[in-house]
Symmetry: C2
């Protein structure tokens, strides 16, 4: 029942770390080339092998290639983005408006990963104390897909500037199904070396050492 050899080769391990470090949130570099079905199914299978609370597997995958549906989603983005821009003033607002924050119609395929909050019945193992564990599990599936996509040369962008009630309407979701992640997928002209928000001076990467604590908040770990 076990894998007798647990260990990864150097190149296998390097591949995993490469996907982690070279993954990007893509908005501007999408190519129109369609993603072949076998490749898309590999991405969904990777997502489906994420851990989930009580093996609940609360996710569904709605693939969206219809331009009509994508334009409805884009209209919701545009409304929400106009509201968001009003949160900033002066130079910061100018920078905000200069950022491209979605690739809904430029990418050839959109994907909504949903969370069925009723799956597995009333008492899902491990979801007694923290009821949002089903949403958290679905996020883990998103990250599996995002990394697999990078290894396949496919860019992914998560569109979070969106009205989820309206999105649920557009996709005709049942009442218990929450549209957790709206993703744009496509081959890309390039993967940027750094996150775009870092390059454009929006925010910097925090020093990792400042985020590490030992045995309680704000205490150093004695190694």
């Amino acid at each position: 029942m076990s894998n007798s050899d647990n260990s990864f080769s150097d190149s296998e391990r390097a591949g995993l770390y490469r996907a982690i470090y070279e993954r990007r949130d893509v908005r501007s570099q999408f190519l129109p080339d369609p993603i072949p079905k076998p490749v898309l199914m590999r991405l969904l299978k990777a997502a489906h092998h994420a851990p989930s609370v009580g093996f609940m597997q609360p996710w569904d995958f709605i693939l969206i290639d219809s331009l009509e549906v994508r334009e409805e989603v884009l209209a919701s983005f545009n409304e929400e983005n106009a509201k968001a821009a009003d949160n900033y003033t002066g130079e910061r607002q100018q920078t905000y408006r200069s950022l491209k924050l979605q690739g809904i119609t430029e990418s050839p395929m959109n994907l909504c990963i949903t969370c069925d909050r009723s799956r597995g019945g009333a008492h899902v193992l491990g979801r007694n104390s923290i009821v949002d564990m089903d949403l958290f599990s679905t996020c883990l599936a998103v990250q599996n897909l995002w990394l697999a996509a990078r290894a396949e040369g496919i860019g992914v962008g998560w569109v979070s500037i969106i009205d989820q009630t309206r999105l649920a309407d557009i996709l005709n979701l049942p009442e218990n199904v929450y549209p957790l992640a709206y993703l744009c997928l496509g081959y890309v002209s390039e993967f940027l070396d750094k996150p775009e928000l870092e390059t454009k001076g929006w925010r910097s990467r925090l020093p990792l050492e400042e985020l590490v604590h030992g045995n309680g908040w704000g205490k150093p770990l004695i190694w």
Copy 2:
């Protein structure tokens, strides 16, 4: 500014997929051997390179090797688990009670990944419409760490049967900091071939095809 060669070698890609498919939620196979600091820091660096909304990086990493702290956490698990067991009856309850659901003190290191909900100020880019995007980002960091751990031969188990208010007290978290994931980390005697809940007949893996929809809920995708 771009990586001229986007593509992964076959073995790099295989390494990523291997981590995804052979990752397990570990509770019973922990070895007591300590994890060297450079290895632990590689895992935290992998987590720190997850995508985050508005490049918010809302996570902190509390490493816990103190047995005293871990025993307090275990006490919270035991209380919550007793309550959870009462949700089941008969044979199902017997099965539930036979499952090992945590490795808090058997593993040499625990790690709480938190989410600072105030980081980046009042208006984090992309967190206007969906306020929980900070929690979702932190989950993506958890999955990066989980996969990197697998590639390093380290097992990870997420303890979700826990009172998070009490956990925040034990770890002395500031008011805005949410203890999203409490993880047990350690080298393992083996990685099981399949999820333990599947092997023990608790739940089966769902057929992927049934979870794929096209352009709206319940509709097939025309390829």
